[in-house]
């Protein structure tokens, strides 16, 4: 019985009741009927160019491509009839005549779609005796190797760029057999998602440069894991050769990363084998670093902490942990610190404004599921370069935009989000607050609900057309979302930004959410890796110092977990001087740097992500546990939770008898239980806005390839143009005002630091704003991410 929307068809004698208009290949896939294909890909548009999926449809004058033939009632299809097989074999022969017979030296060998299909449909001896085509390879950057002679022109890589990455970098030039894939003018591809073409390429034309020639697919072990460089938690498969990570590929998960992976998540593993890895515990004795054993190192650590507590009080200990730490590590750190009455514990390393922290929701979340982003009608991004900071969310928003969603951004720069943006406002961090106030005013919100500091700004706000446009777009969307990005959270006026953002969201009945730094900020809030709250948002007896105060008011002893203080903190200069002036610094770290050797007293090697087990909570509030996958040879590194556990034992604290991270997670589940992930909060505390001055405001974005210590040590990522972006960007107006129109290098004065930087004139940057990329070797020499600077020609 078929109604209008379903039809009855027959494939290989099997009668199927299916939805009308669906392509034959999808129906066959669902029914486990195998049809060979190359150009077809579920997540890309149909190209129908490879002709491998030709099938025999009764009454059709010729074989039809299953990928582009919609099912119709009564259709009778044969995928294995003599006619179908003949057509498929014919295509296979055409594909192979110019394909090199270099499988033994091809990196794709063993996991090659062409090889697999050729086993079934190819002939043993070629009838083609003419010369084969040879195509010059192109250098498209440090991540992707090209062997274009192997290309079968399926155009998946081209379609990926256009449709998913939103950046048309690869294209086909030339006609007929001279058609070539390339970038037209040779350059490195810059998409943050470029590595996905390696997975998409059905042959060995595009392979992973960092891992090629290092192992055969069948020699690898595969371990599932969770990506650790943004708050999304993409699912990935770690492929190891012996005990080393050889490569990383995505695991398909429709709710998180679909079948994609960002380049950062794909290639960061290269940092695991960096020469900077700390292999053994080390102690500084008389200014000299000595290797030591674990027991000595831990005893020393314990003794130093006890000394500090005894001599100065527990309040003189400061504990800073990376937001990439696992839930288990953070939980144990909280348990340890609160038991010794130290509340100076924080993970919010790149935050400057903490004035409203007491009113913050229990955990910050996106406010919707990742998949739901696809169905939005309008989005306002505040302080977010979402496509680079959370590439997977960029993909979802692009999908929404294609369906008609209107994307607005208020940023320090009007970012290229790889999708058309309806309204883009550029404002430096001070003006950004005023722009938000103007949008709130255009929405006619009830200003009496605003706290005083915000109300004054609201009254002064000038509504311009762009503000009304954003207001209209948000109001008219049936499903709208206001998102505070990483840069909003880092803003010196985070509290004011949040007050207005919330007011806007409430007034338009929008969803409201955050995008946090690191992989586990949500988990950090939940486990109380914050100075003012205990587990699960519970109150605690006193509030400690936040990350910034801990560094502004130097402590006697610092325990640093998985961070490089000069890169991972919002104010590297203050941070470095704080640790330099302290008596004792313990670094639990997978890496050692020369700066670290200067300020630290004990170095405890911890197993980084991929070598340890643990749990991350992503920005949706999704709890994801992973196991270790690889192990570094000759390394004595230990999982951080074990180190903290031993410290707990030294302090004789009850309940530190864990034998596995799983036991810790079980305790967390018992202690915390169900947690609520809504972002509801009423914010009234705010930092007052400084008066307007005729100055230059520096605004920063964490460079996506410098976001954490592993990424910073991944050589292929460091060789991308993106990682090398280290210039100071100002717009043409400001350049004119400062008489820097022809300058290529400038002196940048921030606080008491002056350094020379390359200058880029860039009209996407806001007025009176200097935009820099952060967490780079240059930025660590300057003051905080945000602040007033001076510029002059060098």
């Amino acid at each position: 019985m078929s109604d209008a929307s379903t039809v009855t068809i027959e494939i290989d004698g099997k009668t199927l009741e299916v939805k009308a208009g669906v392509m034959l290949i999808d129906i066959a896939d669902d029914a486990n009927i195998d049809i060979p294909r190359f150009c077809y890909h579920r997540h890309l548009t149909i190209a129908a160019n490879c002709r491998m999926c030709l099938v025999d449809v009764e009454n059709a004058p010729k074989p039809l491509p299953a990928c582009a033939t919609p099912v119709m009632d009564g259709m009778k299809v044969h995928t294995k009839s003599a006619r179908a097989i003949a057509a498929q074999k014919a295509t296979m022969e055409f594909l192979l005549i110019n394909h090199p017979l270099d499988c033994p030296i091809c990196d794709q060998g063993g996991e090659c779609e062409l090889q697999d299909v050729a086993m079934a449909y190819g002939g043993d001896v070629s009838r083609y005796t003419e010369g084969k085509r040879v195509v010059k390879d192109k250098d498209i950057g440090p991540l992707i190797s090209t062997d274009l002679t192997r290309c079968i022109h399926c155009t998946r890589c081209i379609r990926f760029g256009e449709e998913i990455a939103g950046l048309r970098e690869l294209g086909a030039t030339g006609r007929g057999e001279n058609m070539q894939i390339g970038t037209y003018i040779e350059h490195a591809v810059s998409s943050e998602l470029s590595g996905n073409v390696i997975d998409l390429c059905p042959v060995g034309a595009l392979t992973a440069k960092p891992s090629r020639y290092s192992a055969r697919a069948w020699e690898l072990n595969q371990y599932p894991s969770i990506a650790a460089h943004d708050c999304i938690g993409s699912h990935l498969s770690v492929h190891t050769f012996r005990s080393d990570t050889n490569r990383i590929v995505p695991i398909e998960n429709s709710e998180i990363n679909e079948c994609w992976l960002s380049d950062r998540d794909r290639f960061s593993y290269k940092g695991l084998t960096s020469r900077d890895r700390l292999l053994k515990p080390m102690i500084k004795m008389d200014g000299q670093w000595r290797e030591t054993d674990w027991q000595t190192a831990l005893e020393k650590t314990f003794a130093a902490m006890q000394d500090t507590i005894r001599n100065y009080g527990a309040d003189q200990i400061g504990v800073l942990a990376s937001p990439n730490s696992t839930l288990e590590e953070l939980y144990l750190l909280k348990k340890l610190t609160s038991n010794i009455d130290c509340f100076n514990f924080d993970h919010r390393l790149r935050q400057l404004d903490f004035s409203h922290q007491d009113q913050a929701p229990m955990i910050p979340t996106l406010g919707s599921s990742i998949t739901d982003l696809e169905s939005l009608d309008s989005v306002l991004l505040i302080g977010s370069n979402i496509s680079k900071e959370q590439p997977m969310l960029g993909i979802r928003l692009r999908k929404a935009q294609k369906k008609g969603a209107k994307i607005c951004q208020i940023n320090h720069r009007v970012y290229d989000l790889r999708m058309p943006c309806e309204v883009g406002i550029a404002a430096h961090y001070r003006n950004l607050v005023l722009e938000l106030a103007a949008v709130a005013k255009a929405l006619n919100i009830d200003s009496s609900l605003l706290p005083h500091a915000a109300n004054t700004l609201f009254v002064q706000a000038q509504i311009l057309e762009k503000h009304s446009q954003i207001a209209e777009i948000l109001k008219n969307g049936e499903k709208s979302h206001v998102i505070l990005g990483n840069q909003a959270i880092s803003s010196p006026y985070y509290s004011l930004v949040e007050i207005f953002a919330r007011a806007i969201a409430t007034s338009c009945n929008c969803l409201f959410g955050y995008l946090t730094d690191g992989a586990n900020a949500t988990g950090a809030w939940l486990t109380g890796a914050i100075p003012h709250r205990d587990y699960n948002g519970a109150s605690q007896k006193t509030a400690g110092l936040n990350a910034q105060s801990m560094l502004e008011q130097p402590r006697n002893l610092y325990l640093l977990h998985n961070i490089e203080i000069d890169y991972d903190c919002a104010d590297p200069v203050t941070a470095l001087s704080a640790v330099a002036s302290s008596d004792f610094v313990v670094c639990m770290t997978p890496y050692v740097s020369s700066d670290m050797q200067n300020y630290a007293d004990i170095l405890l090697p911890i197993s980084p992500y991929l070598e340890t087990s643990g749990t991350f909570i992503n920005i949706e509030g999704r709890v994801q546990t992973f196991a270790g996958a690889s192990k570094l040879k000759n390394s004595e590194a230990r999982p951080a939770w074990k180190i903290i556990r031993v410290l707990g034992n030294y302090f004789d604290i009850d309940g530190f008898e864990f034998n596995s991270s799983k036991e810790i997670l079980e305790e967390i589940e018992r202690t915390i239980g169900e947690f609520k992930g809504d972002n509801t909060a009423t914010i009234t505390e705010a930092t007052a806005l400084a008066d307007k001055e005729d100055v230059i405001y520096r605004c920063s974005e964490v460079n996506m390839y410098h976001s954490d210590s592993i990424v910073r040590r991944s050589e292929p990522l460091q060789n991308t143009p993106e990682a090398k972006e280290d210039r100071i960007h100002i717009n043409a107006d400001l350049a004119k005002k400062l008489n820097l129109e022809r300058a290529t290098q400038v002196l940048v004065k921030h606080g008491n630091k002056t350094i020379a930087m390359h200058l880029a004139i860039d009209d996407t940057v806001a007025n009176d704003c200097a935009w820099t990329s952060f967490a780079t070797a240059t930025s660590k020499k300057l003051g905080p991410m945000y602040g007033v600077i001076e510029l002059e020609a060098d």
Binding site: C50, R51, F94, R127, A172, G176, E177
Partner: protein, 432 residues
Amino acid sequence: MVNEVCFKNIDKDKAWKLDVYQSTGGYNVLKKILQEKTDPATIIDELKTSVLRGRGGAGFPTGLKWSFMRRDDPGQKYIVCNSDEGEPGTCKDRDILRYNPHALIEGMIIAGYTIGASVGYNYIRGEFWQPYERCEEAIEEARAAGLLGKNIFGSGFDFELHSHLGAGAYICGEETALLESIEGKKGQPRFKPPFPASYGLYGKPTTINNTESLASVPEILSRGGQWFLDIGKPNNGGSKLFSVSGHVNKPGNFEVPMGMPFSELLEMAGGVRHGRRLKAVIPGGSSVPILPGEIMMDTNMDYDSITEAGSLLGSGAVIIMDDLTCMVSVLANLSHFYMSESCGQCTPCREGTGWLSRVVHRIEHGEGRMEDLDMLFDVAVKMGGNYYEREGGRTICALGDAASMPVLSFLKHFRKEFEYHIEHKKCMVARY
């Protein structure tokens, strides 16, 4: 009944000028249609009566094609003229553009009115610089006379027409590749469905017709569909432009009634050069099967007769070969053409055209093997289907079929010459 439709004014001085066109009733039928607000259905019926079949090569009935457009649907619609005339041997549209551009313009305005399109594009072959300039001049004249633009003849109907010069790719004569090219993209055919009538230029409903088809419309509507049909024969209405080239004494374009015996057309072209024997004819442009001269001499020039004889009328490019022609060399030339012009999108055509060309080239140069001949036939069938068994090609567009038909037909009719080449490493026929 020669030169009755598109070449009506061919002998007049400055035939391309507006006043010359109007002196023989040009734009009258447009005026009548617009002022009387003729029902588009009536126009389509008239065209159906005329049995005007698409002159680009496929022979699809123009009236039927126009009826696919839902003129009352909201949104922009387009009429596109295919003047990319790239089929080797064909040069008829060039002369329409040069000598009778106003017939095309009038035809396009009427088409626009009928299908509800207010914008038209004329995609002109890249090498047609003079025809392009003539068209541009004619468009200017028409615009100045109020025949293009807003509110034509006070009817409230607006129509704008743009010329678009191609860049030299044969494939852009394929209608969807042509649309891509107008959109500024690489000329590659689109997969159908969706057909242009629902998703065409810039994603809007679009009708694409050949220059000769559109330029015939005013005369058909002014003198009646039946008149046009009667020039030709049932199912093959009207007269048709044939571009006769090759080994004839007077090559050129001839507008003659459909169904005219081939021998008469050959006579009009001055007969075979030097009075030599007619060896072979490609009757409809390089993509259609070749026929031996003796078969052609018994065939009439219309769609159905040529199909019956084992080829296609195609674009009406009649390529004449005398008995000094080496068939291997001709096929080598044709195969090379298709190798160069394949867009590269679909596997069978991208790889197959090069394969065929290389093998034929090898045979031509005395390096062939007997087994190459069966292989050539097989490869051609696997790429472009088997014309002789009515099986279609394996590719998105018909270029694969077009590249395969010469190979199949040359081997069918002239296999001996190929065998001779392979065996003796030289031509069966004496060279000039």
